[in-house]
């Protein structure tokens, strides 16, 4: 290159192209995403975080939790589980209908212990014939979309996370490293606020061998006078012995551990992390509510 204008032109072209691609276009594509309806229930999703949780998001950011915890669930794909709920009044008829679709499933054993998952197929289309046959024969059947992948199997979420999940996050804390587990659904997974508080205070007491640093500076240790009752908001030491073992410097039971405001709002935020609503772009069918009892006549 002989002239400086060529250098600047090169830099300008390259940078403006990438700026347009990775800043402008995403903004056009996703910048105005708003609440969506869940499928099929039609609830609004997501909801903005309520007061305490919103304050907790600031604490989460300020403590840099994002450097060890991601908030994104991945999935490899989906499978469709076909669940037979009820064989219908004429079980023989239903069985015959199933047999026409799949000889393997068309055996009386299929009807033992309903409701149950009778087969797994790759997609909805593959399940269609079976659904149609059984419902026409008077049986009740449904197909559930179940995402698959290591994150899902670990119980970190029921589906992958999508852009919709982050619409109201003021500073998205997606994260790129997992020195600790993913937290996109920690509010569903660990819904007990006291567990969260104890875990923040002494992680290894709740999860033996945990590598997470204790966040004792989010708690106050108060000394109790003889006969004094502990404060209502002190964290319940369910297994006090185990608890005190870990935080070596806390003394015997004449002390109480009281979470500070920061700890409380942080836990409120953690509990609000629930990215599992079924959405159009990331379908998941809730598993059927457990049916107490159904007496099915097994066809012979």
């Amino acid at each position: 290159m002989k002239s400086s204008s060529t250098v600047f032109l090169a830099a300008f072209l390259a940078l403006s192209a990438s700026w347009a691609g990775f800043v402008l276009v995403p903004q056009l594509q996703l910048g105005r995403v708003d609440q969506a309806k869940t499928v099929p229930t039609g609830d609004n999703y997501p909801l903005a975080r309520a007061g305490l949780a919103a304050q907790g998001a600031a604490v989460y950011r300020s403590l840099g939790c994002v450097y060890c915890h991601s908030q994104q669930v991945g999935q490899d794909g989906v499978k469709v589980e076909v669940v037979l709920l009820d064989a219908g009044t004429n079980a023989d008829n239903t069985l015959a209908a199933i047999r026409k679709v799949s000889a393997e499933l068309g055996r009386p054993e299929t009807f033992i212990g309903l409701p149950k998952k009778i087969t797994e197929v790759a997609d909805m289309n593959a399940a269609d014939a079976l659904l149609k046959a059984v419902s026409e024969a008077g049986g009740k059947i449904e197909a559930n979309v179940v995402p698959t992948g290591p994150d899902i199997s670990r119980g970190w979420g029921r589906r992958r996370t999508v852009a919709q999940d982050y619409v109201y996050d003021a500073v998205v804390q997606i994260g790129t490293r997992r020195a600790g587990p993913d937290l996109a659904n920690v509010g569903t997974r660990r819904a007990d606020p006291n567990w969260q508080l104890r875990h923040l205070y002494a992680p290894a007491a709740e999860i033996p061998g945990s590598t997470m640093p204790p966040y004792r500076f989010l708690f106050q240790e108060r000394k109790l006078k003889f006969g004094q009752h502990s404060s209502p908001d002190a964290i319940p030491l369910v297994t006090a012995g185990k608890f005190l073992d870990v935080s070596k410097d806390t003394g015997p039971a004449d002390r109480e551990i009281v979470p500070t405001e920061q700890a409380r709002v942080l836990v409120a935020y953690l509990l609000s992390l629930q990215a599992d609503a079924p959405l159009f772009e990331s379908p998941v069918t809730p598993p059927p509510a457990p049916v107490v009892t159904t007496n099915v006549v097994v066809a012979k």
Binding site: F22, P26, V167
Partner: protein, 453 residues
């Protein structure tokens, strides 16, 4: 001035890096101290390394290159010094804010907006006079290093202002924030640092081996490909962003292998059979730096393939690649430049033993920091992929690698101390000479006056 400040920040950043990795050895270390928590110490490390050390030293070297290659004096050195002071002030403000919990929450861009504004103004102030220096050049023919410095001067204000405006002043919604932050980080780490570093490599290698750069065409090819491919990198495989962005970014990261190979060819062809040996001096630093860049880029390109990225994403592997890029390539290249430039501008020689000592601390340090993290990250990722392996086992698979990397970090920290001492001694003896001259001049004056009268 820029170098001295940069070295101080580098030492500090090493301190924070060490403190951060100690958390993984002894989690309860900072349990009672909010400032010492990992989530603050780690960003303090990256903030100090990138904004405290990398950018000012890159800028300082760039200024020197523009003046040297243009055969002119720097324009308005006073204003440039003001810019440098302002920059260091911004870094300090950012550091205090991060430790205080006022981080922006974006990786590689943790400084809050008041610090960001300071840095932006400081950079623009220095860049303006750099461009003025360039336009006053007496040597009209352009050398490849000048392209790289000019592009770097142009690049940073754009990406930085985009990040500041769209993330902090007028925040975009939801995942678009993540897209902007990743775009910024990708451009910073995969374009800006290579531009500033390669400007040095392509100047020093021919200079020190007393041969010509092999060749200008290859350098031009590297220039274009780094700009075009590098600017599209940065978005990880799992990101909850549209698939086209992830695909494009993976492809761009994989294509970075093209400039990497070209850089390798340039270094090999230029230094092959040169009659000079490095002896732990700037040549060694520069060669090692270029090799580390090639290695890091090739590894990153391989890890961009979805099959590999599924394993390595979210693990220490990605951090290992970044460490190789930051310490192995950029820091080493800057050390080469600093040791080459300092004696020239101050007239004071740095003891070759101490330069050698620094090299033999920094070089193994960089390798020991990065390579175990790569291995540990792989082990971690392979376990993380299998849901039946408990998560904690996966985390602990990386522990050995992590311990080794702390040793590497320790070596680097000692090396940085040596650098600081080297720079301090040069500055001290420079000012001693200046003071002596001034003293002599001051004591001379009356005599001269007497003579006249």
């Amino acid at each position: 001035m820029l170098f001295g400040g940069a070295a101080v920040w580098l030492v500090l950043s090493c301190g924070f890096g060490l403190a951060a990795s100690m958390t993984f050895h002894q989690p309860a270390l900072f349990a009672d101290c909010a400032v010492g928590t990992y989530g603050r110490v780690y960003p303090a490390w990256s903030h100090l390394f990138v904004y405290g050390f990398a950018i000012p030293s890159g800028l300082g070297v760039g200024l020197w290159l523009l003046a040297r290659l243009g055969r002119v004096e720097l324009a308005k050195p006073f204003l440039i010094a003001v810019g440098a002071k302002l920059w260091h002030l911004g870094v300090l403000v950012g550091l205090v804010a991060i430790l205080n919990g006022q981080t922006s929450g974006y990786e590689w861009f943790e400084l809050p907006r008041y610090a960001a504004v300071l840095l932006f103004l400081a950079f623009v102030l220095m860049a303006i006079w750099a461009v003025v220096t360039y336009s006053q050049r007496r040597e009209t023919a352009l050398y490849p290093s000048q392209w790289f410095v000019l592009a770097a001067l142009f690049w940073f204000p754009w990406i930085f202002s985009t990040a500041v405006l769209l993330l902090q002043f007028f925040p975009v919604r939801g995942v678009v924030q993540a897209a902007v932050a990743w775009w910024f980080a990708g451009n910073l780490l995969n374009v800006w640092l290579p531009l500033a570093g390669l400007a040095v490599t392509f100047y020093l290698l021919p200079k020190l081996t007393a041969r010509s750069l092999q060749s200008h065409y290859l350098a031009l090819f590297v220039f274009w490909t780094v700009l075009i491919f590098g600017s599209w990198t940065g978005i990880p495989l799992h990101a909850p962003l549209p698939a086209w962005m992830i695909t494009l970014s993976s492809v761009a990261t994989a294509l970075m292998i093209v400039p990497a190979l070209a850089i390798g060819a340039i270094v090999f062809l230029t230094t092959r059979g040169a009659p000079v040996t490095g002896g732990g001096g700037p040549l060694c630093y520069s060669k090692f730096g270029a090799a580390a860049l090639v290695l890091a880029t090739v590894i990153a390109a391989l890890a961009a393939c979805p099959a590999v990225a599924r394993v390595t994403d979210f693990t220490w592997f990605t951090h290992g690649v970044t460490a190789l890029r930051l310490y192995g390539f950029f820091a080493m290249t800057m050390f080469a430049a600093i040791y080459h430039i300092l004696p020239q501008i101050s007239g004071v020689t740095v003891s070759p033993q101490r330069i050698k000592l620094h090299f033999w601390l920094a070089m193994p340090g960089a390798l020991l920091l990065a390579l175990p993290l790569l291995g540990g990250g792989l082990a971690q990722g392979l376990k993380m992929m299998h849901a039946e392996v408990p998560f904690l086992d996966a985390t602990k698979a990386a522990v050995m690698g992590f311990r080794l990397s702390t040793v590497g970090e320790l070596l680097i920290a000692f090396g940085s101390l040596v650098l600081l001492v080297n720079i301090a001694l040069v500055v001290a003896s420079y000012y001693r000479v200046v003071a002596k001259t001034a003293y002599a001049a001051a004591t001379m004056t009356p005599k001269a006056a007497e003579v006249k009268s």
